[in-house]
């Protein structure tokens, strides 16, 4: 599998205290651990198990994923923007890897 590539959509600006919508997508097979290969052996589970979004170091949104989340996990959620700053997005893989992305937002 190619290295998972995160994609995030955050508005560039917001009014102070505004609640914005964030959309995230990461390319990942989300191998459920239920499927079998040609020889009939179970393909081991390998999924993204946690997704976290924080703003200037404060946690905004987190999700624990189970194998029932579809491949290329997509999330849409809200966040309050009290000031200008940076959103940090982290995806944790079963194999120990973490994938991150960052987006800055300016309060006009």
């Amino acid at each position: 599998m190619a290295t998972p590539k995160p994609r995030v959509k955050v508005p560039k600006t917001a009014a102070a205290g505004e609640v914005i919508t964030i959309k995230t997508l990461i390319s990942h097979d989300m191998e459920s651990g239920q499927r079998k290969d040609k020889e009939g052996n179970l393909i081991p589970r390998e999924i993204i198990n946690t997704f976290t979004c924080s703003f200037n170091g404060t946690k905004v949104f987190e999700c624990d994923l189970d194998p029932a989340v579809a491949a290329n996990p997509y999330f849409e959620f809200s966040a309050k923007v009290p000031e200008s700053g940076t959103f940090t997005f982290t995806w944790k893989d079963d194999n120990g890897a973490t994938y991150t992305d960052e987006k800055t937002i300016e309060v006009a």
């Binding site: 499927r35 949104f61 029932a68 997509y74 999330f75």
Partner: protein, 152 residues
Amino acid sequence: MTQLNRRKLFTLAAGAGTLGLAGLVPRAALATPEAAREAIAEFTGGTSPQTGRISLTAPEIAENGNTVPISISVESPMSEDDYVESVTVMAEGNPNPEVATFHFTPMSGKAEATTRIRLAKTQTVVAVAKMSDGATYSDSKEVKVTIGGCGG
């Protein structure tokens, strides 16, 4: 620990039940509504969720069980002392009932989330919300699945 034991016991009992029907029914690989209820009880800490405040949006018919869009939304002021702590989603007819658990904070602004899930067959999807004061609410939707999403 007691919860774990209870759960194990339950699984054993369910297994025994399946054995009784051996020959007629292939070995049950799918979760049961009971297993989902157990998992929900674990999430709520035993309290039975009320209806209202939470709404779960899911399609009535999903052609492809591999990617079914669902949304949850909970009415809440999302202030420092009154907010939605977490929302868990369960699929009763999947091999494991757990689908995803969302954790919110007052910084979330709104307790809303959308994602895409896998459904093995036609079944009821349940969402349960836990508030910061410990109250729990739930909503459920039946989704008809044309092609299951847990192929093997």
